[in-house]
């Protein structure tokens, strides 16, 4: 191995450590008694679950976890279903107004979300959806990006497959369900990951529409827990709460690393 290569490896390893160590340290701190909060090492003889116990005692974090799962799950299913319908219409059907719909999808993606944040909040209040699942879920049921990704993917599927199915008497929805969905699995995975992650990690919108603890999402609750003083400024307890936010994602990332990278990389295409 050449010296140059060795230096390269040393630098890469140092970089990698700076990306992993903070998470390991956070995990370690969350498992240690309060007295060790100044320790920057990873190991201790006194590992304990007391901090986690404290989190569960002080906030309904289990409920928040379920809320997040429910919300992100519903939003993801809806985005996949409805985006594929629109993507199919734009890619493979011919009808009046198609161009206009395509244009409006593009425009809706170009306008920054900050513009509609306040009016959207008022709409939710008007519907009486504040502090409810509806308020958290309904505004995100559709996604322009999902439509574009599906459209792109569906355009590569040959018309002959549709014609072959039509000659057998399949209707448009049957063609979508039996041929396009199975063939677009990678796109479904991509959109699924992007949507789920986006919804799971979102904090601003929940902070705007939800103030009741029972309806809070996981990141929102963890933020308010560390910010709002319920953690009592206790380092280990804060990190324990944060671990509960991070660990599910790290676990799924370590299993589906390739898909996560591909999905997020393709999110750049829209730019």
């Amino acid at each position: 191995m050449s010296v140059r290569r060795l230096i390269l490896y040393v630098m890469l390893t140092a970089g990698a450590v700076s990306f992993i160590y903070p998470f390991l340290w956070m995990g370690s701190i969350s498992l240690r008694p309060m007295t060790e909060f100044q320790d920057l090492g990873l190991f201790s003889k006194n590992f304990t679950l007391a901090n986690y116990q404290a989190v569960f005692d002080r906030i309904p974090i289990g409920r928040a976890f379920m809320n997040s799962c429910l919300i992100a799950g519903t939003v993801t299913c809806s985005v996949i279903f409805f985006s594929s319908l629109v993507g199919y219409s734009l890619a493979k059907l011919k009808f009046k107004g198609q161009g206009a719909i395509m244009a409006i999808v593009m425009i809706s993606m170009m306008i920054p979300g900050q513009l509609t944040l306040i009016p959207l909040y008022q709409l939710i209040v008007y519907f009486g959806w504040a502090d409810s699942y509806l308020g958290l879920i309904v505004p995100s049921l559709m996604s322009g990006m999902g439509i574009l990704i599906f459209r792109q993917t569906f355009m590569t599927i040959p018309y002959e497959l549709m014609e072959a199915a039509r000659m057998e008497g399949a209707g448009e929805f049957q063609i979508l369900r039996k041929i396009f969905w199975p063939l677009a699995k990678p796109a479904i995975v991509t959109i699924g990951i992007l949507t789920f992650m986006g919804s799971w990690n979102e904090v601003l919108w929940p902070m705007i529409v939800v103030h009741e603890k029972a309806m809070m999402t996981l990141p929102q609750m963890v933020v308010l827990f560390t910010k709002g003083g319920e953690s009592g400024g206790q380092f280990g307890v804060e990190m324990a709460a944060n671990m509960m936010l991070v660990v599910p994602i790290i676990i799924s990332y370590s299993f589906f690393q390739k898909y996560f990278v591909e999905a997020l990389a393709s999110s750049g295409i829209k730019g």
């Binding site: 014609e163 000659m167 008497g169």
Partner: protein, 371 residues
Amino acid sequence: MQGLELKNLEKHYSGNDQPTIRRFSAKFEPGEFVVLVGPSGCGKSTLLRMIAGLVPVSNGAINLDGKDITNVESNLRNISMVFQNYALFPHMNVYENLAFGMRIRKEATQTIEKTVTEAAKILHLQDLLDKKPGALSGGQRQRVALGRAFVRKPKVILFDEPLSNLDARLRIEMRQEILKFHEQCGAISIYVTHDQHEAMTMADRMIILNQGVACQTGTPEEVYNNPVDQFVAGFVGSIPMNFIHGRGILNEGRSFFQVGSYKIDLSHIGKDYQLDWSKNSGGLTLGVRPEDIYLDEHYSHAVAPSPKMAAQVKMVEYLGDSTIVHLEGDIGSFKSRFNKDLRVRKSQKLDFVFDLKKLHLFTEEGNKLPC
């Protein structure tokens, strides 16, 4: 009436001035293998899709066994189709591909199994039923596509350039397989291709389509020997017919074709054109197939030789079974096909003759003059 009848079919797409298909009429007898051939964009695929019910008909009617099916749903027409690249569903195994239509129609599992097994037996697919199309060879895929057409027990099978993306060797094998399948089915087969060679070798009857219009219908021999116009003449034949531009003249009551200083006697094909060449401008195109050109002294007695003409060799293509020589002379550039034993060099000067009995004569508009 038994068979398929197309009456004055037309297709207009909004936004196009010219109709894609213009007043197309044809009749197809049961058991016939008819090839629709034409250059890309001639409308042959549209025509096929109109018969299939995938593209709505603008004008005209389609009758199958005496019943008007012009507006019948595609799946109720008793017609099946083999698509370009076969259009097998890549995520389903062979069994599911064959069963797809029956599953859509919600037929009983036993019926499906019986039909699929039968088709698999006929097409030798028994061992492949669990495989997905991606794991099959080109030939196996074609058999699955044929099987999918077969399970419908159709009266008409449409083929949409099924061989266009295969390599040359496989293509020749597959042609035989398709013809064998056609005989087993006994249905009307309508086969679309842009490859005139494929059309010639497979067709009972061929229809040549150009710009949405049927130019000529006939057996491959008829079309090759008696093309109705310059388009057909140029389209059919693996090395295209040579076209030479010149003038018609009348000399002592006999018609001649004049190009440069040569006068070519037209009496062998024209039975004395008693035409007044001076009335129209006299401009004509003479068509000669490459194999109807002979080196001076090399022709047999069956040939009626034209006057000797001179040319220079520009390029030689040795094909093995024959030799294509590109020539240039006073009459312009042209190609001829010679015996494989002939050895000529580039730049060599040669004398050659045409076989006067095999000439074709076209007006300036490309219409054939009657023989």
